[in-house]
């Protein structure tokens, strides 16, 4: 694939950042900033109901209108960003720790452990993520934490695979062989020589998986398995508003556009990270 990077972007933009990536980063930064500053900038309490102003269209008082319970859509959107980001990013983090951790532990214990662990991981991988998350949530109970754990388990295999691939790629290289000849154990080799090489791959994988975690979180809360009912999450806002799609499309368009903006910017940034950290394998990874 082509490695040519646009050089005409200008001095303000560092080499390798396309305008698209910059815009994506700005959008993501804006969403994160809004989420962080949520309590300061929400004009209304996102749980407060004005039962005399249901399904109001956007206007001066309610910038994005109100929903079917008379709650301010903008305030809910901003507060919902918190849940979505925490659960989505948290899920990816759990997957990262679980996948890379278990993968490395298994690898350090030798061939048999590796085979056993990866048989299990293959199994998890064979289940479609939403299905697996659904089952886990039903087993663990609905809520933000179970969703995070479920996402973590469902996406952990990807990180484990990266760990294994890096391990085997590096393990045959001369310097590693040399280290082993000098009496370095599997664990020693792993820690000293392979772990540093792993970081790039794992970050790349995390960048690819983040938007998928966010999407899966919104699917689950859309199916009614997310956190408690009045806590705003974007997926639940879509589900709630879908019954009033005709009279108040704004209440559904706002969270849908928010989800799309977030996942879109995340995937573009993920793409950029992938190109930067691992330009040669970018194409292969896309097919993983």
């Amino acid at each position: 694939m082509s490695l040519a990077l646009p050089s005409e972007v200008g001095g303000a933009v560092r080499r390798g950042l396309s305008p698209r990536t910059v815009i994506a980063a700005l959008v993501l930064a804006a969403i994160i900033a809004l989420a962080l500053a949520a309590p300061l900038i929400t004009p209304f309490d996102p749980l407060d109901q004005d039962l005399l102003a249901l399904n109001q269209p956007p206007g001066a008082e309610h910038w994005l209108g109100t929903d079917h319970m008379g709650r301010d859509v903008f305030s809910r959107l901003v507060m919902g960003a918190r849940t979505t980001l925490v659960v989505g990013f948290g899920g990816a983090l759990v997957a990262f720790i679980l996948g890379a951790g278990l993968g490395l532990v298994a690898l350090s214990f030798g061939r048999a452990a590796e085979t056993a662990m990866f048989a299990l991981i293959d199994l998890v991988r064979a289940m479609p993520d939403v299905l697996l998350a659904l089952l886990l949530i039903v087993a663990l109970g609905a809520g933000a934490q179970p969703v995070m754990i479920a996402l973590g388990i469902a996406f952990a295999p990807f990180f484990a695979y990266v760990a294994r691939a890096t391990f085997h790629r590096e393990a045959v290289k001369d310097y590693v062989t040399a280290a082993r000849l000098f009496g370095g154990g599997r664990l020693h080799v792993l820690r000293l020589h392979i772990a540093p090489n792993l970081v790039g791959g794992l970050i790349t994988q995390a960048a690819i998986l983040l938007p998928r975690c966010v999407v899966t979180e919104s699917v689950l809360s859309f199916l009614g398995l997310g956190s408690s009912p009045d806590q705003p999450t974007w997926g639940r806002m879509v589900a709630d508003a879908s019954h009033y799609i005709e009279t108040s499309p704004h209440a559904i368009l706002a969270p849908v556009l928010a989800i799309v903006a977030l996942t879109l910017s995340l995937s573009m940034i993920g793409d950029a990270v992938r190109r930067r950290l691992d330009p040669l394998r970018a194409a292969d990874e896309a097919a993983l």
């Binding site: 694939m1 048989a119 293959d122 199994l123 998890v124 064979a126 289940m127 479609p128 993520d129 939403v130 299905l131 659904l134 089952l135 886990l136 039903v138 087993a139 663990l140 109970g141 938007p211 998928r212 999407v215 899966t216 919104s218 699917v219 859309f222 199916l223 997926g235 879509v238 879908s242 799609i245 005709e246 499309p249 559904i252 368009l253 849908v256 989800i259 799309v260 996942t263 879109l264 995340l266 995937s267 573009m268 194409a283 896309a286 097919a287």
Partner: protein, 307 residues
């Protein structure tokens, strides 16, 4: 003789792998379903007002008081014989419920799958042969679309635009809109790798020769690119299948299609273990079998793979 065995062994390994995976999934699902607090007897007890003694009796009758491994073995043995037991909530044979739900899901999945592969192939081949900028951008757009646009969001917007604003499509039971949505989503999953693979093929010597000879683009596409594209597509179709499961589930819920996805979701809400297990078994086995089949097909078509 030896060469035949040599050629067959990958098939045997694939088959064994397939069996192990399917079994593993069933065990995992069985155990997870047992983690869920409250069983179907509780459900019945609360709805149908059974006394405590009757609940104990019913639990015994359904075998819910035996140890989990025992239940697993008993259930697997009967499942092997095609008997998934009765739905605890509805007292109907699970096989019958699956039987009525499967055609909808199969039809839906097959249509979406076909549309997805067809779209991806047409786009990728079109973009490579014509070198058209718009088509190339479309490849990117589809790819981004499938990553960034959750199907339920697209579904909701689709309902808003087509059913509410334009008044075109019927809402319940109609597959048109969900098939298109999942078709595009599936295409997006594979169109980019497919396109990249084809572009590599297009720079190969014989395609350049063909072009130099002045062959029409569509002939190049047909004769030189398709043979490359099909195996690649087969290899990628596993990815499509996984995303198809999630898509089918949300679309069945959103559009009220009475398929396996709806059946499964209802069963999860109703703690109807026999139905949950049977539905997951069917989905998992179907996935494993289709993956193995495409894998084998891929090996047959693409000789490079037999090594």
């Amino acid at each position: 003789m030896k060469t035949v065995l040599h050629r067959l062994s990958p098939f045997a390994i694939a088959l064994a792998r397939m069996l192990v995976q399917a079994t593993g999934i069933v065990v995992v699902v069985f155990l997870l379903a047992r983690l869920v607090p409250g069983d179907a007897v509780d459900v019945k007890g609360l709805e149908g007002d059974l006394t405590a003694a009757q609940q104990v009796a019913l639990r015994h009758e359904l075998g819910l008081d035996r140890s989990v491994p025992e239940q697993l073995v008993a259930w697997s043995w009967r499942a092997l014989k095609g008997d998934f037991g009765d739905s605890i909530r509805f007292g109907r044979p699970v096989s019958g419920m699956l039987g009525t739900a499967l055609p909808t899901t199969l039809l839906f999945a097959a249509l979406s799958f076909a549309l997805g592969l067809g779209l991806a192939l047409a786009l990728a081949v079109g973009a490579v042969t014509t070198g058209n900028r718009v088509l190339r951008e479309l490849v990117n757009l589809f790819s981004v679309w499938s990553i960034a646009l959750p199907t339920f969001c697209v579904g909701v917007i689709g309902i808003l635009v087509f059913s509410v604003w334009l008044g075109w499509l019927p809402v319940l039971g109609s597959m048109n809109l969900p098939v298109i949505i999942i078709g595009i989503d599936s295409a997006g999953v594979i169109v980019k790798p497919l396109h990249e693979e084809l572009r590599e093929a297009a720079t190969s010597a014989h395609v350049r020769t063909a072009r130099a000879k002045g062959l029409a683009p569509w002939r190049i596409a047909l004769r030189h690119l398709l043979p490359t594209a099909v195996p690649v597509m087969l290899a990628l179709s596993g990815l499509v299948l996984t995303s198809l499961v999630a898509g089918t589930l949300t679309m069945e819920v959103l559009f009220g299609l009475p398929g396996v996805g709806s059946l499964l979701l209802n069963a999860i809400h109703g703690r109807d273990y026999p139905v949950i297990q049977a539905a997951i078994l069917v989905i998992a086995v179907a996935l494993v079998v289709i993956n193995a089949a495409t894998d084998l097909l891929h090996r047959l078509i693409d000789p490079r793979m037999t090594s």
